[in-house]
Amino acid sequence: MRQLWLLALPIYILSAQVHAQSALTPRQQEGQKILMTSCGLCHEKPDILNPAVAPHLSRSTLGGHVDDIIAYIKTGSNVMPSFKYMYNDEQLRSVADYIISRPDEAAEGHKANDKK
């Protein structure tokens, strides 16, 4: 019985994720693509055994305030570069819109790691 459940699990996950993907607005999808390109290196988990080096980005990031997220990406921090030469305001807004659509700790192991 357990084996049957295991076989069905990927299909269930797939269906659920397809639904989650299509629930994004076009702007959020745009932001998601940018995040996958420029933010993932630090903010996503590099492999199954290691945590991300930078905080998980979610609806709780900077209190979920879009303007604050945009300002942060434009300014950077003591370890994060400013992305203002790379992305325009519209693109940054799409990133922020996508970030606040994400649940907290969506993926297990996404714990913020402030080792830097």
Partner: protein, 629 residues
């Protein structure tokens, strides 16, 4: 010796895709899809890349526009399609259509506005980095050798930062190891000792001010033979070992305008790949997972199967290198997924029965390491951390060959590439020290020679740098000396007397005579930017390589001394391997994409075949207005 017969595990297949495809194919009929691509001035865009994906399929088929801007796909089944057309300096165009008969598209591409560099392949960006002074050339050399070992050059160079921003990127990268893991205690002497001038140089090239990059000598987009090939790219399902935010990769490199994607769990890992004799492509999964050691894709339907060796705590062993023997058996090296106490071994997959087994060397020998090959005597060679192991599939015994030099004053010699030659000898590479090792199976001994420094790079170094690097201990093999050849992976000509080494850092092949050990260097068309990684030799003695710094592969014809570059359709391929399968119906070139988790199969078409297809296209659609040749 311990031999483990494993229980092959069919992990999961996207059954709904398969069932849809099977149901569809029962009713499908073949159609032709063709068209032409032009710019806004009506001129043909030579080498434009046109890709098609049928609704619900995980296979992308890509062709290129010829000198008239025309393209034609091989026969495909009727149905709903997503088409996208791209050019290096053009805006991606997407068209959805339903085709029940032959289908013609006229595509107009707008010029890309804004930062075109973001969508260019890595070698174009690398080649365009400024070198107006000796110091600029020195920085360009450092970037070419230090920023391509783990990722395509397009990943960093798509970005624009000021000097402060590049300093932060370089600081971060100095703490990242060769598999992308952050370690605050890691030291990268090359980055640290050049931090200020590297950051200033990068900001000059990719910063807020007008760029100092020079694109005037950009290589041509695909044309001729390189524009007649067909690519089929197979999406490997995202690893769902752990909860994922994205089951599909929203940026999987298909739309170049989104740039080269980042690397993170579940979306990468396809390392080596081989086609079997039965219409499947097999690949190794070089990322820790709970579900996958090696995978199989059906070339026809894209159906996927995963197989694993179980490890304690629910992990699946990783795999890295892969080869196919003369009988069609797939061999691969299996290694722990980060669990202590699991000894690496040699994996065997019989594609006919899908039975998988694991052979582990005895404790008295070294363990297996990353790459693998079969010699002409049907013996399987696999690297060890300090040499190579020769496995006899009949007696199921290993023989251990130790590298003559394992340790030097500046660190351990890391073994990476390997080949088994026509004489039954093994060759393996001490990559970080450019040492070429080889066996003598008659005397059961191992020998070595060292490739000389790359003179072009050496001439750029300051006296201070030369002094610094005398005691430099590389943190890993992807942090080389500035003049390193970077002897990465290699291949043997089983119909000839040569082995070929992909010298990634200096951008050449080392061509080595297996009998005399005499060697010479063959530069790629652009050594600074087209850097060979793995090597495969076909029956015509042509030498194939995947250029690790970019989204392209190359073929070198040793008789005519000519290179042909074939562009891959995806941005961020980061290919680590290349293999060929030669059958009566033609040759296939197999290219695994590590960063974008795909496997690609390239096939060839000659001019006559394309003319025949165009003829069939015209005769089937009376009102088709194909541009005339």
């Amino acid at each position: 010796m311990l031999s483990l017969s494993s229980k092959v595990k069919l992990l999961y297949a996207p059954l709904y895709i398969l069932s849809c495809l099977i149901a569809h194919q029962a009713l499908a009929k073949d159609i032709l899809i063709a068209g032409h691509v032009k710019n806004t001035k009506g001129r043909p865009i030579i080498g434009a890349t046109i890709s098609l994906k049928q609704d619900g399929s995980n296979i992308t088929t890509t062709v290129f526009a010829d000198e008239n801007g025309e393209f034609i796909f091989p026969p495909l089944s009727d149905g709903a399609y997503h088409l996208w057309a791209q050019g290096w300096i053009y805006q991606t165009k997407k068209i959805d259509f339903v085709a029940s008969e032959n289908h013609l598209e006229t595509i107009v591409l707008d010029n890309k506005t804004g930062d075109v560099a973001r969508q260019l392949p890595g070698d174009i960006l690398l080649a365009a980095l400024p070198e107006r002074t000796k110091d600029e050339a020195r920085m360009k050399n450092l970037i070419s050798k230090n920023c391509t070992g783990c990722h395509s050059a397009s990943f960093p160079l798509q970005h624009r930062f000021d000097k402060d921003g590049w300093t932060k990127i370089l600081t971060h990268m100095s703490k990242i190891n060769l598999v992308g893991i952050y370690n605050a205690n890691r030291k990268n002497g090359t980055i640290e000792s050049h931090m200020d001038e590297l950051a200033a140089y990068l900001a000059k090239a990719r910063g807020p001010e007008p760029s100092a990059m020079d694109f005037s000598h950009m290589r041509s987009p695909p044309r001729g033979e390189a524009a007649r090939v067909v690519f089929r790219e197979y999406d490997v399902p995202v690893d769902t070992s752990e909860p994922q935010d994205y089951i599909y990769n929203p940026n999987d490199g298909r739309d170049w305008s989104y740039g080269t994607p980042s690397k993170f769990f579940g979306h990468v890992g396809v390392h080596d790949a081989q086609a079997d004799f039965y219409g499947h492509v097999w690949f190794t999964h070089a990322d820790s997972s709970r579900t996958l050691t090696i995978g199989q894709m059906s070339e026809k339907t894209g159906a996927y199967k995963g197989f694993k060796f179980d490890e304690p705590q629910g992990y699946a062993s990783q795999a890295h290198g892969m080869t196919r023997d003369q009988d069609g058996v797939i061999w691969f090296n299996s290694r722990p997924a980060g669990q202590k106490g699991v000894r690496p071994g040699l994996g065997r997959m019989d594609p006919k029965t899908e039975q998988m087994s694991l052979f582990i060397p005895p404790d008295s020998m070294s363990s297996t390491s990353g790459t693998i090959d079969v010699d002409s005597d049907h013996k399987v060679w696999v690297t060890a951390p300090d040499g190579a192991l020769r496995f006899d599939p009949i007696t199921q015994t290993f023989k251990d060959y130790k590298s003559p030099t394992y340790k030097t004053a500046t660190g351990i010699v890391s073994v990476y590439g390997l080949a088994g030659d026509r004489n039954g000898n093994g060759w393996w590479l001490g990559m970080n020290q450019d040492i070429v090792n080889y066996s003598d199976i008659k005397t059961q001994t191992a020998h070595e020679f060292r490739l000389p420094a790359d003179p072009t790079s050496l001439a750029l170094q300051t006296d201070q740098e030369k002094e610094y690097y005398k005691s430099f201990t590389p943190p890993d093999f992807n942090t080389p000396l500035p003049w390193a050849q970077g002897a990465r992976r290699m291949g043997a000509d089983h119909n000839g007397h040569l082995v070929w080494i992909g010298d990634g850092f200096s951008g050449n092949y080392a061509r080595v005579d297996i009998n005399t050990k005499a060697y010479s260097f063959v530069p790629t068309p652009s050594p600074i930017s087209l850097q060979p990684y793995a090597v495969a030799i076909d029956r015509h003695h042509d030498v194939w390589t995947n250029f690790w710094s970019t989204d392209a592969i190359g073929r070198y014809d040793d008789k005519t001394k000519k290179w042909t570059v074939f562009d891959l359709p995806t941005r961020g391929t980061e290919s680590r391997y290349i293999s060929v399968l030669e059958q009566a119906e033609g040759m296939k070139v197999i290219i695994p994409y590590y960063r974008t988790r795909k496997v690609a199969v390239m096939t060839f078409r000659n001019q006559a075949e394309i003319i025949k297809l165009k003829h069939e296209f015209k005769t089937k659609i009376s009102d088709a207005r194909m541009p005339q040749n």
